[in-house]
Structures are given as structure tokens and as C-alpha cells.
Amino acid sequence: MEQTRELLINMGPQHPSTHGVLRVLVKLDGETITWAEPDIGYLHRCFEKLSESKTYTQVIPYTDRTDYLSAITNEHAFCLAVEKLMGIEVPERAEYIRVMMAELQRICSHLLGLGAMALDLGAVTGFLYAWRDREKIYSLFERITGGRMLYNYLRIGGVRNDLPEGIIGTPKDGRDKADKTIWGFINYFESYVLPEWDDLLTNNRIFQWRTQGVAPLPSEVAIAYGASGPVLRASGVKWDLRKNVPYSIYDRFEFDIPVGKENGDCFDRWVVRVEEMRQSARIVKQALQWLAENPGDYIAPKLPRVLKPPKGEVYIRYEGSRGEVGVHLVSDGSANPYKVKWRSPCFTHLQLLPVLAPGHKLADMIAIIGSIDIVLGEVDR
């Protein structure tokens, strides 16, 4: 029988649900996608070239701007790379502050990722709930770092400043202190926000219709395509760089790695992210306990004003909010990095789109983009 002609659609770069300036070319047969091709580069800001002309410390604020929704984890990855290159010992307190901040940032980033996916699926309320809770984290971060989104808080060897007084709070802080103390937020988050997500969306029949069985990703394919983070774990691979290649002080914390089923679909990716937020909250609680028990003010070692790492090379694998952040740093002994390569998880994940999308409906495309949770700032760098 004669087939109908395919319709070529240009989604983006100005489209409400491409999470920034992503352009996807889609061929449709009716409503079914037969071919998809992402086109990126609209947000390219020459991060790698720019870094070569900055000193090591000056690069830190630029790392914030790669994955701008998960700034602390990027700073952490970069600082880890430089510290490894120079062999700097980080003060214990600074390590705990870093881990706590990174995990709060992970919660924050996942909240937005989940909220944006909910918005793409038409649940506007879920999105606004995510913003409400993100706002509380931002208030906390603003008090700690002075910035709300791009912090420039971590320093090579430590952190810029200690936690302000009273921000830790006590484990009894409840919902009314959610935006004042970290304990308050964590308690509010665990007792109120997570059940709300489960009620509103995870257990919602329509939401399950829209996500279950959509874009299954077999685990071998996920590994072959370099998927990492929640996307990899949703496909049933129990792999978390915090556990499997421990860096910083993650081996001191107790937490589980949530995994999805063998053929992880959009729903698995969703559930894994929700569970990861729960685990991050657990880590934050342990860090808070330590910080409350071990007060101190040694948060950064004395370092020369201009850092000149020895000649050498380092590649750091870091479990960012969206997956494996790789920092490949080459030093020639001068004050500027000779080369910085930022292996971004979103860039790698976006390759999956042409694999996952065909055979699904146009509406699923949105769910897929939402479920792999891309940030175009990091894709294009």
C-alpha cells in the first residue's frame, strides 16, 4: 500500500519544551516519529578555549556556567581535578561542607529536572511545586555562598567561607524553618515534598500511561552509548561513581544506589531521580551531624596566590547531577591550564535521542527529552 508522505518538523531552537536552545529535526509519519536528529551548538560559549587563558582559580566561575543548574557539583569536579594534580589535602570540614552542598545541589537539580519533565507532560502544578522547593534551597545557598544560582563558592583546596551561624539548625526543625535551616529543609523535604511527588505524579495513572514503556533503554545500549548517572541506573546498571569510584569523602557515607529495571523507560528514569533525591537527603543528614559535632574554622589550606601545578595530566570522573562529569586537565607547569576538556553527561546523553525516539509519538519525544534531563548550557559548553 502506498505510504503517506513524511512530515519534517523543526522543533526548536525556539520551542517551549526543548529545555533551552536545542533544535531537533523530526520526521513524522502521522504522529509517529520515524527519524530524529538533534542539532546543538546554539549556546556554545567556548568554555574550553576560554579556560586556557585563565588561571586555575579563575576557571571555577566558568564551570558554574556549564551546567548552570548544578553549579556546585561542577565546581567540585574541577577543584578535585586541580587538587589531584597538585596533591593538595583538603581540610575535613571543607570536605563535609562540599559534599553537603553538592548533595543539596543534586536535590535542587533533580527537582528542576523532574519538574520540567512534569511540565512537558502537561502537569504544570508539579513544575511549580518543584520551583517552590527549589526556592527554599536557593535561599539557603544564598545565605551560605552569597549567590543564588552561580556560586563560585568552592576554592581549590577548600571552600571560600564557613557556613554562616545557625544555618545548620537542629534535627527538630520542621516545615516552618524549611528555608531557614538545612535541617528544616531536609525534614520538610522528606516528610512533605517526597510524598507529595509520589501522590501527585509517580502514582498518577495518566502519568504512568505517558511514561511507562516509553523509550526503553537496554542496559548494554546504555553502556555502549556512554550513558551515566540516573539514565544509566534507570536501565538497571547499579553504577554510581560515588560508590564505585569513590572520590572526596563519599566512602564515609551510607546511601543506596537506586536502580530501575533491565529495560529502563521514562518512568524508571523518573523513579530513579526521585529515589536519588531521597538518598541525597540521607547523605546531607549524615554530613550535618558531622558538621554539628565537629565545629571548626579550618576550611582551606594556605596556598600560593597563583597556583602552578606540576606538569601532568588528570582525568576526574565525578558523579554530577546528570551523570558522569569528566574533567580532563593538562598542565604544562604554568599558571594557566594547558587544556581543559569537559566531558559533559548531557552531551553524551543527547546522542541517545535518535536511538530512543523513533517509533514513538511526537508527544513521547517531549517525555524522552525530559527524562534524559538535559541542560543545554552543558551540552554546548
Binding site: 555502549a224 553504577w239 582525568y315 569528566g326 566531558r343 553524551t348 554546548d380
Partner: protein, 169 residues
């Protein structure tokens, strides 16, 4: 969880390809220096030995030559401290370098190879779709991560606020 030991694999690699230089770097990873003609075979060998996870591929411009760096590691569930190996091909010409593509082995390196082409001008033979990725398709200005890259585009007037007048320059 036991730390993962990849030394047997590297020894087997050394045995199979004596020309390969293997060294452990101070920062924890293993450098595998191979020549261009053995590159694809070594990567195939490593993939067969279980280096299943393609982390990244990139290049370094050493001002007189280019060096291709491919980062791989073993993703084994339940393992710990899986070391990274960097397969390095040194001595590539700075213009018109051609390297066999590993995308057929590791589909996840597709875009990373495209990016390396985009930024350094290294062509990957056998790549399914070697186009510019971050820069526009019609970009003529060269490959920006080369150290001698110059932005040849006409300078845009830059508006600088200078007390009470605006100077363009």
C-alpha cells in the same frame, strides 16, 4: 567491593602488541601510547578485554603536533576503583590528521569524535556522520582549540561606557 585490577589486561596487551608503551601516571590512570596504525587494533583488544565504557575522546595540541586521547574504563557492576586507561596516539600532524574512528565500537563516542573534529580538525575515517557539531555547519574560521587559532571574523564594535560618552572600539 574489591578494587578492580586491570594489570593482567594491560600485560596481555603488552604481550600482544609489544610496541605499545604502558605507564601508570601519578594521578592514577594508565597511559597506553600506541602508534597510529595499531590504534584501532588496540582499542578493539581493550574492548574485547572488557573495557566497555567509553568515557571520552579528545585531543591535545602540543604546538608542533596533535595527540589523540581516548579514555576508557571497565564498568563492572559491584567493582570498585575501576582505573581509567588513556589510549594515546601522539605525533599527529596539526593539519589534515586522519585517524580511524572508534564509533563503530563505541557508539557513545560519536559526538565526542565530532567535537574533536570540530575543535582540532582531526578527521575520523569510518565515522558515520562527521560534521561540525558545536560550531555552525558553514563555519570557515578553522578549528578553535588549536593553539594558533585566531578569530578572523570582523571585530564587532564594542560599546564601552566611559563616563558620559559612549566610545565604540
Amino acid at each position: 567491593m574489591e578494587p578492580l585490577d586491570i594489570r593482567p589486561d594491560l600485560e596481555a596487551l603488552k604481550a600482544a602488541y609489544p610496541a605499545v608503551e604502558i605507564a601508570e601516571a601519578a594521578t592514577g590512570h594508565f597511559d597506553i601510547r600506541v602508534s597510529l596504525d595499531q590504534y584501532l587494533d588496540v582499542v578493539k583488544f581493550l574492548k574485547d578485554r572488557g573495557f566497555n565504557y567509553p568515557a571520552c575522546i579528545t585531543a591535545i595540541d602540543w604546538k608542533d603536533r596533535l595527540e589523540l586521547v581516548l579514555q576508557l574504563y571497565k564498568l563492572v557492576v559491584g567493582s570498585r576503583q575501576s582505573p581509567l586507561v588513556m589510549v594515546r596516539v601522539d605525533g599527529l600532524p596539526r593539519e589534515g590528521a586522519e585517524v580511524p574512528s572508534v564509533t563503530p565500537l563505541y557508539p557513545g563516542l560519536n559526538w565526542h569524535e565530532r567535537e574533536t573534529y570540530d575543535m582540532y580538525g582531526i578527521r575520523f575515517q569510518g565515522h558515520p556522520d562527521l560534521r561540525r557539531i558545536l560550531l555552525p555547519d558553514n563555519w570557515q574560521g578553522g578549528h578553535p582549540l588549536l593553539k594558533d587559532f585566531e578569530d578572523k571574523r570582523p571585530r564587532r564594535p564594542r560599546l564601552v561606557r566611559h563616563r558620559d560618552m559612549i566610545v565604540s572600539g
